[in-house]
């Protein structure tokens, strides 16, 4: 029997993988992908809570669709930024972009 904790365990795993990738990967594109992973981990959470704690209501599902839409927009902006950075410095290694340091 699949209960809520199974879904939460999956989403936690997914989130940790995403976080690890976002914090460690050099490539900006991979980092963006990892952020998507983290968002999807959250989406799983939302759907699971909606299904188990509040059955019959679609509030969680609605929220997930909303998140997917926002994530799509975010990726669009993120990829655009990466392209610009690449043009500018000829690399997408995040460690090279340290212009804001004090």
């Amino acid at each position: 029997m699949m209960d809520l904790s199974c879904y939460l365990g999956l989403s936690t795993l997914l989130f940790i993988v995403g976080l690890f990738g976002a914090l460690t990967k050099r490539s900006a594109v991979v980092v963006l992908m990892c952020i998507e992973l983290m968002l999807n981990a959250v989406n799983i959470n939302l759907v699971a809570f909606s299904r188990f704690l509040d059955p019959g209501q679609l509030l969680g599902h609605l929220f997930v669709i909303f998140t997917i839409a926002v994530a799509a927009a975010e990726v669009a902006v993120g990829i655009a930024l990466v392209i610009v950075l690449n043009r500018y410095r000829d690399t997408i290694n995040l460690d090279d972009f340290t212009w804001l340091k004090g």
């Binding site: 809520l4 939460l8 976002a22 914090l23 188990f52 995040l94 972009f97 340290t98 340091k101």
Partner: protein
Amino acid sequence: MRIETELLAWAVLFLPLASFLVISLVTWPYKKVSGLVTVTGIGISAVLSIWILSRIIADPTPVSSTWHWLTVGSVKIDFGCLIDPLSASMMMAVCVVSFLIQVYSTAYMEHDEGYSRFFAFMALFTFSMLGIVLANNFLMIYIFWELVGLCSYLLIGFWFFKPAAAAAAKKAFVVTRFGDFGFLLGILLLFHFVGGFGYGEIAHAIESGYIPPVWLTIATVLVFCGAIGKSAQFPLHVWLPDAMEGPTPVSALIHAATMVAAGVYMVARTYDLFHSSDQAMLVVAYIGGITAFLAASMAVAQSRMKRIVAYSTCSHLAYMMMALGLGGYTAGVFHLLTHCFFKALLFLSAGAVMTLYFHEENIWRMGGLYRYMKVTAIVMILGGLSNAGLFPFAGFFSKDEILVAAKESGHIGFYWLGVLVALFTAFYTFRLIFVVFFGPRSEWSPVSHGHGHDDHHHEELPDIGNPRPSQTWKMQPVDPAVRAESDRHLRKEPWAMIIPLSILATAAVVAGFVGWPGLEHGFSSFIFFEHPHHVAGFDIPTVVISHIVLIVGIGAAWAIYGKRKTAADPLSEMLGPIYRLFERKYYFDEIYLWFIRRFIDGGAAVLAWFEENVFTGVFANGIGGLMMEMGRVLRLFQNGLVQRYALIFFLGVLVLVIILIYSVPGEVPGAIAAIGGVK
């Protein structure tokens, strides 16, 4: 009638201020006009003050006029004048002496660049002094007291380009500040107990016993500190002789006739206070007695003309203090008034000698001047006789009254001290006169040493002290032709000097008659404390004793100086080390300087170290350095690496979540319960 008297008093007070404002705002570029403004302003004041005095003599009821000035909380502060026999007489003396000195100054300051400035300051000074005289409360007297101190500073340092004058001005200001600080503390202490500043309120509070006796004594002694500073009493007397660096009319006005009299006047004015505390009275008497002796003995061995007269002033003021301290209210005040005239006369005639004699001040460079300046010599001898107290000169009546008061008080030691001081007084006064006007001319010739008579700001005189017979006189022997040439430059006294000198000389001769003992409506039934002090007649033993010491003093001066052959002080050989002690003023300046160097400078060094290391080092630079260091460390976190930021951000969120979960103790938060509990 009454209202008019008050208005007159306000006019007397504010006319000199108006003169000051007119000169400093309008007429300062025009020398003659400025002098005229002050002379006119103070002249009118003098006439009005005589008028007021005549009214007060006719009807001695005190008149007062008060403006409400400030309200601070429940305290009302007034600005008012009090006209009674004491203040009316003092006002008259201040105005008349000041007027005569202004007239004299028009001649004395003739060639000075700062002519207008001089007259502006003199007018301001007269205003401040009149303010002290007319004040009817402690706050007002304190304000004018400080104003007088300021004027004194400005006028002593009038020739501020002379280093000695600048130093003397500073010294006078700083030394009197010690006294003024005590004065202020005393006033505040009285205010604490009484809740007001008015003389009347304080007298009333003393009578009703609101003030505990110990505190009353402390407050009185503190108030007396102000008088010690202003009247140059021991141990704050050191500023007065140095103050002679100012122009001579300043010395005459401020350091003889009026400002230094302010201390004595203040004690007389607030006699209710002093009279209520026996200990404070004793302090006054002892300070007076000590100063009278010290100053008189120092005067014996000075070589500069004005300094001799300055020490004489110091000694006479101390005499008055002594009289007041011994309960001789009438005697002290009487001496204050007569002293105004004869001391101003002595100063002005000394100034006349100096002006005519090429601004020379050292008496050993004079001698035999009688032939050249007869008028000055005669008035100076009259002033000297009054100073020494010969019958029937003014000084005689007041000085003998002080001696009688000392005798009546039962302090017989003070009586003999007074007699001793009188002996010194006669001696040093006539030492000055004999050396300057009689005997041989000194070998010194002003012209041969490059002094023209218009050379007003002459070079600084090295203080050569008194030449010893054993010393070779440093000057070259004078060529008779050069001497004759220099003597031709000796001018005659101008009328602007002769007239004030003659008036003052007349006053110095006759002013004493109002205090003739036994006179029915004389001075003692006009100014008194509580009840009139009637004397049946002369106290014959005192008169005899004081004349014996007078004759001994003058005789000794004549024996030593009248027939001297050289420009040297024979006394220095006779007295030896004691003379040296007198001449060096008991080493007071040296002791004070030593004390300042040793303790004050040491304390200042400790404080400076503290300031540098603790305040600057620990607080200012320390806190700044800490911030800089923290910034330097924290800057390491801002490395521009986005992922590092994200990690920190994540950790922060984690911490927040943990805090949120465990923030409510003993209750498992809903989310965790939901996770664990729902299938």
